[in-house]
């Protein structure tokens, strides 16, 4: 499971970085989204991959080893919210630039041929 998980993150990061370096704003925002997915998966993975272990304790006298670490899950939630908000903001700026410059190039003008 770890290998598949790591591969998935790797593919997402590779695709994200490549898209981030492209000249079109839409590609950049897709790249940023993919990178944020990869980051979120990575944070989640840092809490160790386990199945059938709930993160929330029930009762007081429990064996902590039977439960998953809740902190990375909380971190991921925060990171998702922040990443989502900033990506939405980026989308607005992208549309604004498109409206102002009439092109979707990140520099606001087409490169000279």
């Amino acid at each position: 499971m770890e290998a598949v998980y790591a591969l998935a993150i790797g593919v997402l990061v590779a695709a994200g970085v490549w898209l981030l370096l492209r000249p079109r704003t839409f590609q950049v925002i897709m790249g940023l989204s993919l990178l944020s997915y990869a980051t979120n998966l990575f944070i989640f993975g840092m809490g160790r991959l386990e199945v059938q272990r709930p993160p929330i304790l029930e009762g007081v006298d429990v064996e902590p080893a039977l439960y998953a670490d809740p902190v990375p899950q909380a971190l991921v939630l925060t990171a998702i919210v922040i990443g989502f908000a900033t990506t939405a903001l980026f989308l607005v700026v992208l549309l604004k630039l498109r409206g102002l410059s009439g092109t979707d190039h990140v520099d606001g003008r087409e490169p000279e041929q």
Partner: protein
């Protein structure tokens, strides 16, 4: 009263947050009310920052032993709950933030805050993010506050719109989002290996890590470092900075003056906490020293190359970041106090200078080209939607209200003061800061076997000083001595006063450089004694628990 004093550390975060939220509900028609809220909020923050500054000094050792105050949010104690930590460095940065923000706010109310987006709310959130970053005691909240201040800055940098601002804003957002992902990955790696995010707890446990975990931890720490260096505007990750600062309107740029120093602060904070480990500290120092040096030189070249005053000031921000990082990279304890002194003066200077550029821009008959002509054709409908009639509402508009007499003389005087400050010439504190810094570096560098590094830094700093004099006099001559294409602008007293105020603070800092240096000395001593920091933060747990039992 004591209850209120106990809750002081949270106020710099809560007050601007509520002020920002309330101001969203106040419409443009009630401008006076909105300004009152904004001023009230910043006045409270400045007062709180000053009280905290007093409480962390030795004069108030009975309040907080060792000058470190710990505030556990929700009374959840240190490694499990979230803590705010006030030490000398944080309280100093808080005071600096509030001072600069107050000046920028006064300036903005002359006419810069008029149309468009909710300027005041965004500005309060920017200040909140900065305060939070200086106060927080754990890594993840550092990330959250970074994001708060960045999100606010994304909105502010595009204030006034126009193709140039939106395009630069887009670059700025993309770079900073990518840096934030690096930050998150670093935080995750650190949590994954060490199981805590509290900075004090973290350091207590680093030593006990098995070697294979240690490598992963180090990778996380390096990623964090890269993220901080992006924020600090260090070469080669700073190409976004001159553009973003250069296009943003004057009060916003002034509010940003302290933003790069948040990155430097993070490097300083974590760097000193990590300094327990000799080998890692040496590598970190070398990397900081060389990137800082290259940053310094690249900023210098940028200063000489640019024709536009605001971009030039932005390059001087890069220069100051480079100087700070390079001197910290020497890894000499005695260098820290002058570094802090330099950081304080450079923040005040760049803020004053950015505010000044807003006024000098108006002496031009033709507005400056930032780097390319804007396509004005399809701009108008957008502005109509925002209720703005001209593409750049801050350019040539005549203001209402009291204008100050002898506008050109005032501008000239302030310009000269700012040049002296940036270049580090006497009698202003730019000189005092650089002089103490270099004398300490040259004195102590040979002792630790970094003789050449010290000299190289000294030469680079002096060369940058000369370069900035050259670059600034060239621009100054064009601004003030070529009256043919110039007109005398009307300067609003609300714009003139903040610049004069910031320069005055600098003058006071020169006069009081003795007490100031003593404070910076104490700050450096507490920074280089991470053990006390760790014990105080984690010790607060025991204290609060016994306190809880007693109730």
């Amino acid at each position: 009263m004591t209850a209120l004093l106990d809750h002081l550390p949270i106020l710099p975060i809560v007050v601007p947050l509520f002020a920002a939220a309330v101001m969203l509900l106040v419409s443009d028609a009630h401008r006076a009310l909105r300004n009152t809220i904004a001023f009230g909020s910043l006045a409270v923050q400045l007062a709180v920052a000053l009280v905290l500054l007093y409480q962390t000094t030795d004069a108030a050792a009975h309040i907080w032993p060792n000058g470190i105050g710990v505030y556990s949010i929700g009374a959840w104690s240190a490694p499990f709950g979230i803590v705010l930590v006030v030490d000398r460095l944080s309280s100093m940065m808080l005071t600096l933030t509030a001072t600069v923000a107050l000046a920028a706010l006064v300036y903005s109310t002359s006419h810069w805050d008029r149309p468009g987006q909710p300027f005041h709310s965004l500005f309060q959130l920017l200040v909140m993010g900065q305060n939070g970053a200086f106060l927080t005691g754990d890594l993840f909240n550092l990330f959250v506050f970074f994001e708060v201040l960045l999100a606010a800055s994304y909105g502010l940098v595009m204030r006034g719109l126009g193709t140039a601002r939106v395009r630069t804003g887009l670059h700025y957002i993309a770079v900073n989002l990518a840096a934030s992902f690096l930050f998150l990955i670093g935080v995750a790696l650190i949590y994954g290996t060490i199981g805590t995010l509290n900075m004090a707890d973290l350091l207590g446990r680093v030593g006990a890590l098995p070697p294979h975990d240690r490598a992963v931890f180090d990778a996380g720490a390096w990623l964090l470092g890269v993220a901080f260096l992006v924020k600090a505007g260090s070469w080669p990750l700073n190409s976004w900075l001159p553009g973003a600062y250069g296009v943003s309107v004057a009060p916003v740029a002034a509010g940003f003056a302290i933003m790069t120093k948040v990155g430097v602060y993070a490097v300083l904070r974590l760097g000193t906490l990590m300094s327990e480990d000799e080998a890692a500290a040496t590598i970190l120092g070398e990397i900081l020293y060389y990137t800082g040096l290259v940053t310094l030189v690249s900023g210098m070249i940028g200063m000489l190359a640019t024709q536009h005053l605001k971009r030039l000031v932005a390059y001087s921000v890069i220069v100051s970041s480079g100087l700070l990082l390079a001197s910290l990279g020497l890894g000499i304890e005695a260098v820290t106090p002058p570094v802090l002194f330099y950081m304080t003066t450079s923040v005040l200077t760049t803020a004053a200078f950015f505010l000044l550029t807003g006024m000098t821009d108006r002496t031009r008959l033709v507005l400056p080209r930032t780097d390319e002509p804007e396509s004005q054709g399809d701009v108008l409908p957008v502005y109509m939607a925002f209720g703005v009639t001209s593409p750049d509402p801050y350019g040539t508009e005549e203001e209402v209200g009291a204008a100050i007499p002898a506008a050109m003389a005032f501008l000239g005087l302030m310009f000269v003061c700012c040049v002296l400050l940036v270049a580090g010439l006497p009698p202003l504190p730019g000189f005092v800061a650089k002089f103490t810094l270099l004398s300490v570096v040259l004195e102590t560098a040979p002792v630790v076997g970094a003789r050449n590094a010290g000299w190289v830094l000294a030469v680079a700093v002096l060369a940058t000083g000369i370069a900035s004099v050259v670059a600034l006099t060239r621009i100054g001559m064009r601004l003030f001595w070529s009256p043919a294409q110039r007109r005398t602008p009307r300067l609003h007293v609300l714009e003139a006063a903040p610049v004069a105020f910031l320069v005055l603070v600098c003058l006071v800092l020169t006069a009081a450089s003795g007490p100031a240096m003593r404070f910076f000395d104490a700050t450096a001593r507490s920074l280089h004694d991470p053990q006390t920091y760790i014990e105080t933060v984690l010790g607060a747990r025991a204290a609060s628990r016994t306190g809880g039992d007693a109730e």
